[in-house]
């Protein structure tokens, strides 16, 4: 029984950062932006989360700093890709490397360490224990006692689905991606909609980063996003941006993450760490087969 609850809890904490970043990516996906900068935004968020939490002794300020840091990256993306109309792919690649360089640089400059910064002074985001629910055997261990961000994420999935498919903003968002000129000619600036989608993406990636450095673990290490931004991009593409589909597929990736930890008893950790990436390839395989069937 313990293995199963452990596996499920591992799945949830593995899925959360991917899910948050992918939800951010889905807004830009619908707005028609080829956004590959989630990795950089997440990394920026993770760094500033530690910075805020450490200097203000508060996880809440940590989260706020994470969002601000991630928004800074988003602002750079907006300035180049939307305002100056630089190629989005190029901007994304440069931004990811900028985030990697800048966080490594600041890690050294501000905390005077190389590689990783961990300190008891960093306040992690608390786990929420729901009264009564936590008493229920097995289910209680899963529903209660998760990190605060996990509950926020569940909320954000619902809000995103509502926002994208049920509101005027969502309609405009999808129109910006589907046919930007017609949106422009109906009097709504598609550039503005794109900017908003990137801001939302920045906020969500900031939360993802905060979860990485203040929830999943309590430290910041160089390049700690470790390809999660890329996996979230794959998740968005695999389900064509549907928030519920993204939630499902993120859980699947999270499961492989947890599975990898479990398998560590049987094989070298290097192979178990590969599992999420191999799972992405397998998911992409099924997606491509489906897509081909649909075409013919």
């Amino acid at each position: 029984m313990n293995i199963i609850t452990g596996l499920i809890n591992g799945m949830i904490s593995g899925a959360t950062p991917i899910l948050l970043a992918a939800l951010g990516g889905t807004f830009t996906f619908y707005a028609g932006i080829f956004n590959i900068a989630m990795e950089g935004m997440m990394l920026g968020g993770a760094f500033f989360a530690v910075l805020g939490s450490y200097y203000f002794d508060s996880w809440l300020i940590g989260i706020i700093c994470a969002i601000l840091g991630s928004l800074l990256m988003a602002a750079i993306f907006i300035f180049f890709a939307v305002t100056l109309k630089t190629d989005e792919f190029v901007t994304g690649i440069a931004l990811n490397l900028f985030a990697l360089g800048a966080t490594t640089y600041m890690l050294r400059q501000i905390f005077n360490v190389k590689g990783a910064f961990s300190n008891p002074g960093i306040v992690p985001i608390p786990r929420i224990h729901i009264p009564f629910v936590s008493q229920i055997p097995i289910v209680g261990e899963i529903l209660s006692g998760q990190n605060l961000i996990v509950y926020i994420t569940v909320l954000i999935v619902m809000i995103s689905a509502f926002l994208i498919f049920r509101t005027r903003f969502g309609l405009r968002l999808r129109a910006a991606g589907y046919n930007a000129p017609s949106l422009d000619s109906s009097g709504v600036s598609s550039a503005k909609i794109r900017t908003w989608s990137l801001i939302i993406c920045g906020i969500l990636c900031g939360l993802a980063g905060a979860f990485l450095s203040l929830g999943y673990v309590t430290l910041f290490s160089e390049n700690m996003s470790a390809g999660r931004g890329w996996i979230s991009l794959a998740a968005v593409i695999l389900v064509n941006g549907n928030p519920w589909g993204i939630a499902l597929i993120s859980l699947l990736f999270g499961f492989t993450d947890g599975l990898g930890l479990l398998l560590q008893q049987y094989m070298p950790s290097q192979f178990t760490s590969m599992v999420p990436y191999v799972a992405t390839l397998i998911a992409l395989y099924f997606y491509s087969i489906q897509a081909r069937k649909r075409k013919t």
Binding site: F80, A94, L97, A102, L284, Y285
Partner: protein, 345 residues
């Protein structure tokens, strides 16, 4: 050509200026810092030789990305291909015993094979199952990262070492060093010349380029797109693998953890700033290498940490790419104005 040169130089100057502002903001002396940076990378025989040596992996991965992007496939797998190439060369260097004039070419071929194998997986996944190489190569990067880490931790682990690394390869496989100059530069130049010739002078290269610009047009013109796709993936993978092999054979002579560093991603950036031009890749590769080589000296002389260079690199890329379009408009305007003035007089 001239215009590209102008936009590059202007972009680099603006990026250095932004870097100087950041340094001023943090209370460093930018002039002193840049003087130290370029003193240790360009002025003098040893700094120049080091810059040249360090530029090899950057230029080769940059070439790999340039050729791929210009021909269509979005091969972002250079980091993984570099590692696999390095691993193949290392394993060959550990177990083969041939005279140097045979062993070095064999290892070079092995490293190319390693890279091509890794990009070939992505190419086949695309060919058979229509899986987007953009994501598969990225995932293969992570897998190669862990795979090589395993390989140097267990099967090829050096028992006398405290951290994951292989023993040193056969000394006959070490690339010869003449005075200050490392011969890995020769291999890089050879590879560059071959790629330049194929890309610009042969029918195959023409087909790649035209497919990159307009795949429908080239297909109607009778180009076998699928076959070319696989060829380009293999060639670009081999280039990235070669970069990895040369890193091992010229540098530490063994595979240590973190060997690939950021070479491959920097190479992708170089391709991007060079707008996938081969000569541009060479020049920007040298410039990036100068920055990285000088960063150690910069850290030594001034208090600026060497990681600052990564920030400057990303700023350079953004400024040049964003500025390219604007500079074109600006130059066109001034040209038109001058012509108009000539006509009136």
């Amino acid at each position: 050509m001239q215009r590209k040169l102008i936009s590059g130089i202007v972009g680099i100057l603006i990026a250095l200026l932004i870097g100087a502002l950041i340094m001023l903001f943090q209370g460093y002396n930018p002039l002193q810092t840049y003087a130290a940076l370029f003193n240790f990378s360009l002025f003098g025989l040893y700094p120049l030789a080091t810059t040249l040596r360090n530029s090899v992996p950057l230029i080769l991965t940059g070439l790999s990305a340039s050729v791929a992007f210009a021909s269509g496939p979005i091969n972002l797998g250079q980091p993984g291909q570099l590692l696999m190439g390095a691993l193949f060369a290392t394993v060959g260097g550990l177990y083969l015993d041939l005279p140097a004039f045979l062993l070095i070419p064999v290892l070079i071929l092995l490293s190319m094979l390693g890279g091509a194998l890794w990009s070939g997986i992505a190419a086949l996944l695309r060919k058979w199952f229509n899986m987007d190489e953009f994501i598969t190569t990225l995932m293969l990067n992570m897998i190669a990262d862990f795979f090589t880490y395993w390989a140097i931790s267990y099967p090829f682990f050096d028992r006398n070492a405290y951290s994951p690394m292989t023993p040193q390869i056969n000394t006959k496989a070490w690339l010869p060093i003449w005075g200050e100059f490392n011969s890995n530069v020769i291999v890089m130049i050879l590879a560059f010349v071959v790629i330049y010739f194929v890309f610009n002078r042969l029918t195959a290269g023409y087909e790649w380029r035209i497919t990159g610009q307009n795949s429908l047009f080239s297909r109607l013109g009778g180009v076998k797109i699928d076959k070319n796709y696989v060829t380009v993936m293999l060639v670009t993978g081999a280039l990235a693998g070669l970069a990895g092999g040369l890193v091992v054979m010229a540098g530490p002579h063994r595979f240590l953890k973190g060997l690939g560093a950021n070479y491959a991603w920097d190479g992708v950036m170089i391709a991007v700033v060079a707008n996938n031009g081969l000569i541009g890749t060479l020049l920007y590769g040298l410039f990036f290498s100068a920055l990285q080589t000088g960063s150690l000296g910069m850290e030594l002389i001034t208090a600026v940490p060497k990681e600052f260079i990564q920030v400057i690199q990303a700023i350079t890329v953004l400024v040049i790419v964003a500025g390219r379009g604007y500079l074109d408009i600006f130059l066109d305007k001034t040209l038109a104005r001058r012509k108009a003035r000539e006509r009136t007089t």
